[in-house]
């Protein structure tokens, strides 16, 4: 069966993407500004000013000091999404005045998130059926936390979309070599979105190499061996340099003419020549490895070119970038009544939190899909499993590995565990895809058992699909826009999660629930302490007309007239400090979702 989608499925995918974009846009106004988002807003504005300078005074814009000044802010993350946020804000808000400032920044995030259901449909329909593709696509954004993250001008949902795009193109390119360069471009864009993408080669390399090896003839295999030897030689050379120079010296002494540069050039040149040989001598083997070659050649170029901050100091700034993420600070996180503050973190954390935050009607097909995929993949190695579940083959392995990789990576006890589910979002589209297959099988079984005609079978599938998606949909509607507070039925919903002692919320955006009360109940000139809301977010609430402009930020409860405290287990002291400063333990109002305190507002007692 061809991996290319049919015309109808392309249209369905387009429709799904457009619908997703529209729904996200229509529901964004209620979503508060998470702590990081306002930083990205500010960065995006700053970068868009640089692009304007580049247009008007290119020589000045391209100088090292100007680039450093423009891009130094928030250089923890690459530029692709922030550039898109900035351009969109400049065009749709500042120039055309079509949208409020926040929507101007967020539109590109909606567009990138909209790729996910489109790609899920394309992939699912090609693999199994249109029904599977549609279910996978629809199921993704009825998960409350996923729907929430898709609204943000951040990088977690975009990198999940990019990861899916790269994996999909990689899979397609195995059949159609014309898609290989696009795989490389997509990989570059993924690198330019968030650092998760640096793990993509780890995931895809075995598939490209083994796929190529399997179809290669003797000549092709000799070339592949040489390619492997070249890569190993490079790693050996790098290791030698590390031993001789040490890590710091290796970075500091990296110049255009240096042993380090020689090593990289030799690697790239060697692999390019060998790829050309493979293309010439064994076309079938080349087709299978071409996406990897494209990722290796095009990806880093896209990443480097898109980020001016790297242009004058590529090595030391890249080293800083990797260092920052390799040694990221651990934020406190509540898990079963324990505040996790430092590694080692519980091994089961990611699996448990995934299970407790997903609506149970989606958790079931995802889990079944994952188990089936595991059994079928292992069926390639264990005949008994193959007899029971069938053999998986390359695609099954590809889906399985991608579904598990981010989950397992974050499960490592030394990796930071804050941030709810957002750090393993790249796994979730693949779980949705596997759930799509389970739904397809279930629908098929139902039609077969009831001996339904084709038309009735379609109707039954729609009914079953609607039934399965409905709990997730209602949960999402219920909790929106407070997605970081969402928990599924297995946890007992939001109140059940509170009793279990799970993280109540994070990222401070739930403060939107009390801003209307504050607007109505604060005097002009009042000082307001929005706990956990950073200064940039405070400004963004005001400039988006979500908070009166005549109230002023307070640095803490001592100099505040009103205080809105975010409920976090690790921040209890700050609420108690409000009691102390305001002389009362009685709140004036609060955001209580399903009875759980999320944001509690206090007003200073009259003197």
């Amino acid at each position: 069966m061809s991996r290319a989608p049919t015309v109808v499925d392309r249209r369905i995918a387009l429709g799904l993407g457009l619908a997703t974009f529209v729904v996200l846009w229509a529901t964004e106004r209620q979503v508060g500004f998470v702590r990081d988002e306002s930083v990205y807003f500010a960065a995006a504005e700053q970068f868009s000013r640089w692009w304007s300078l580049l247009f008007h005074r290119p020589a000045a814009a391209l100088s090292d000091p100007v680039i450093t000044q423009a891009f130094d802010f928030n250089h923890e993350h690459p530029m692709l999404m922030k550039s898109l946020f900035g351009w969109s804000h400049a065009l749709f808000h500042q120039t055309l005045g079509l949208v409020r400032p926040a929507a101007g920044f967020r539109l590109p995030a909606f567009a990138v998130a909209a790729l996910i259901p489109a790609l899920l449909h394309l992939w699912g329909s090609a693999l199994w059926s249109r029904r599977a593709g549609l279910f996978a696509a629809l199921s993704f954004f009825v998960v409350p936390r996923q729907f929430f993250h898709a609204h943000l001008s951040a990088f977690d949902m975009p990198v999940a979309a990019m990861w899916l795009l790269v994996a999909y193109l990689f899979w397609r390119a195995a059949e159609d070599v014309r898609l290989s360069p696009w795989t490389g471009v997509a990989f570059g864009l993924a690198l330019a979105t968030k650092h998760n993408a640096f793990f993509l080669p780890v995931v895809l390399l075995p598939f490209g190499v083994l796929g190529s090896w399997r179809v290669a003839g003797d000549v092709g295999r000799r070339v592949l061996v040489r390619m492997g030897q070249t890569a190993v030689a490079f790693l050996g050379y790098l290791a030698l340099l590390l031993v001789v120079k040490g890590r710091t010296e290796l970075v500091q002494s990296w110049q255009p003419l240096s042993p380090q540069t020689f090593g990289v050039v030799a690697l790239v040149a060697g692999l390019t020549v060998l790829s050309a040989q493979l293309h010439h001598r064994d076309r079938a083997a080349f087709v299978r490895i071409a996406p990897l070659v494209a990722m290796g050649l095009i990806g880093p170029v896209v990443f480097f070119v898109h980020w001016p901050w790297l242009w004058y100091h590529p090595v030391d700034r890249l080293a800083w970038y990797f260092d920052f993420h390799a040694t990221h600070v651990h934020y406190a996180w509540t898990y079963f009544n324990e505040v996790l503050r430092a590694p080692p973190f519980p091994l089961a954390y990611v699996f448990v939190v995934t299970a407790l935050t997903l609506p149970v009607s989606l958790l079931l097909p995802m889990t079944a899909g994952l188990l089936r995929s595991s059994a079928r993949s292992l069926g390639d190695l264990v005949p008994a499993l193959a007899r029971r579940f069938g053999r998986g083959g390359e695609t099954e392995w590809l889906l399985l590995v991608n579904a598990l990789f981010s989950i397992l990576l974050i499960s490592h006890p030394e990796v930071p565990h804050f941030g709810g589910v957002k750090h393993w979002l790249p796994s979730m589209p693949f779980l949705a895809l596997l759930a799509g297959r389970e739904f397809d099988r279930a629908s098929d079984g139902l039609s077969s058992a009831l001996r339904l005609t084709a038309r009735r079978s379609t109707a039954a599938s729609i009914l079953l699909g609607g039934l399965v998606l409905l709990p997730a949909f209602t949960l999402t509607v219920h909790v929106h826009p407070y997605g970081t507070s969402a928990y599924g039925e297995l946890a007992g919903g939001i109140p059940g999660a509170a009793s279990l002692g799970l993280q109540r919320q994070f990222w401070s955006n739930n403060v939107t629930g009390v801003l209307p009360w504050i607007d109505a109940n604060s005097r002009p000139g009042a000082h307001l302490w929005l706990h956990e809301v950073n200064g940039l977010s405070f400004r963004d609430y005001q400039r988006n007309d979500m908070l009166r402009k005549d109230v002023f930020p307070a640095g803490g409860p001592e100099d505040a007239d009103l205080a809105a405290v975010q409920y976090h287990q690790e921040f209890r002291e700050q609420e108690v400090q409000v009691w102390q400063a305001f002389g009362t333990w009685v709140p004036s109002t609060g955001l209580y979702i399903d009875e759980t305190p999320q944001v509690v507002v206090y007003r200073r007692s009259a003197p």
Binding site: V360, S361, A368, S448, L467, G493, Q580
Partner: protein, 303 residues
């Protein structure tokens, strides 16, 4: 028969999906029944206002149901923090438990294990929507003869050097007692392992010096109860110094140690004590992140 079994087996995945979806929907539909209305809370507040007595306290079950704070009479203490079922609430002879057992995963086992011992119902339970209000006689209550937070203005506070240097007196600055070497003492609310505690809040001096709090005249009591803990998130920080507390009273010496990474209150109790002075000395080798919340109370018998 075989045919029916085969058809059932074929339809089983769809049935499973459908049943789980219905269960999910059912859960969501019934969940709002567990949420009290404002009117329910107001009725609770009315009942409390009518029946309350001095020394009463309200305990929330589950502990996090703090929306009740919006409604409970402002001068009636409300206790709701992670771990509160273990709180002796010893200054409160009667505890009003405001429970919502319709909420999912309500920690009833914890309540039975930690709260109920020594507590007996002191009246009938009243129902207000999903809320149940039950008064309990607190068998762990003690009469508080004196609490150090009430006598800050009578405390003589000084800082002593480690090498026998003469004590340097502290001076009062508003509600705070300000000492040399950046030490201070005041009465304030602080959190110790999620528990809000109104306590003597002590910032210890540097250089291994000792803060001394002396109460020249204190009444006789059945016991002195000393509790102390590091505030907020500083407690768990690794590599921080111990804090030593030494209480001298007519009952003898009581020594407490807050270990470096200890979270929560440590406590110790003296035997019966005659009237006389109390002297509490607090020392730490390094004051970094060692702000201490101290409760020192003279206790009598059951109220």
């Amino acid at each position: 028969m075989n045919e029916t079994a085969h058809r059932l087996r074929t339809a089983a995945p769809a049935l499973a999906l459908g049943i789980v979806a219905l269960l999910g929907l059912g859960f969501q539909l019934q969940l709002p029944r567990a949420f009290p209305s404002d009117a329910d809370y107001r009725a609770v507040a009315g009942a409390l206002a009518t029946a309350r007595a001095p020394g009463d306290v309200v305990l929330l079950h589950p502990w996090w149901t703090e929306r009740a704070r919006l409604f409970v009479p402002a001068d009636l203490p409300v206790v709701g923090y992670l771990g509160d079922t273990r709180d002796d609430l010893l200054s409160h002879p009667r505890i009003w438990v405001l429970a919502n057992e319709r909420l999912p995963r309500t920690p009833d086992a914890d309540f039975r294990r930690n709260f109920l011992p020594d507590r007996t119902p002191a009246g009938p339970a009243q129902q207000f929507g999903p809320l149940t209000l039950t008064p309990y006689r607190n068998g762990r209550a003690r009469r508080v003869v004196l609490s150090a937070i009430d006598v800050l203005d009578r405390l003589e506070v000084s800082v002593e050097g480690s090498g026998g240097a003469p004590a340097q007196p502290c001076r009062r600055n508003g509600a705070r007692v300000q000492c040399p070497f950046d030490a201070s003492v005041e009465v304030a609310w602080h959190e110790v392992l999620y528990q809000p505690v109104r306590c003597l809040f002590l910032v210890p001096p540097g250089g291994g010096r000792t803060v001394t709090l002396r109460l020249p005249e204190a009444p006789a009591a059945d016991a002195l109860l000393l509790e102390a803990g590091i505030t907020w998130e500083h407690a768990w920080l690794p590599g921080r110094a111990d804090v030593q507390l030494q209480l001298e009273s007519p009952a003898g010496n009581l020594h407490l140690r807050i270990p470096g990474a200890h979270e929560g209150l440590v406590h110790g109790e003296t035997p019966a004590v005659a009237a006389g002075p109390w002297t509490l000395r607090i020392t730490t080798a390094n004051p970094q992140d060692r702000q201490v919340c101290i409760r020192l109370r003279a206790l009598g018998g059951p109220p």
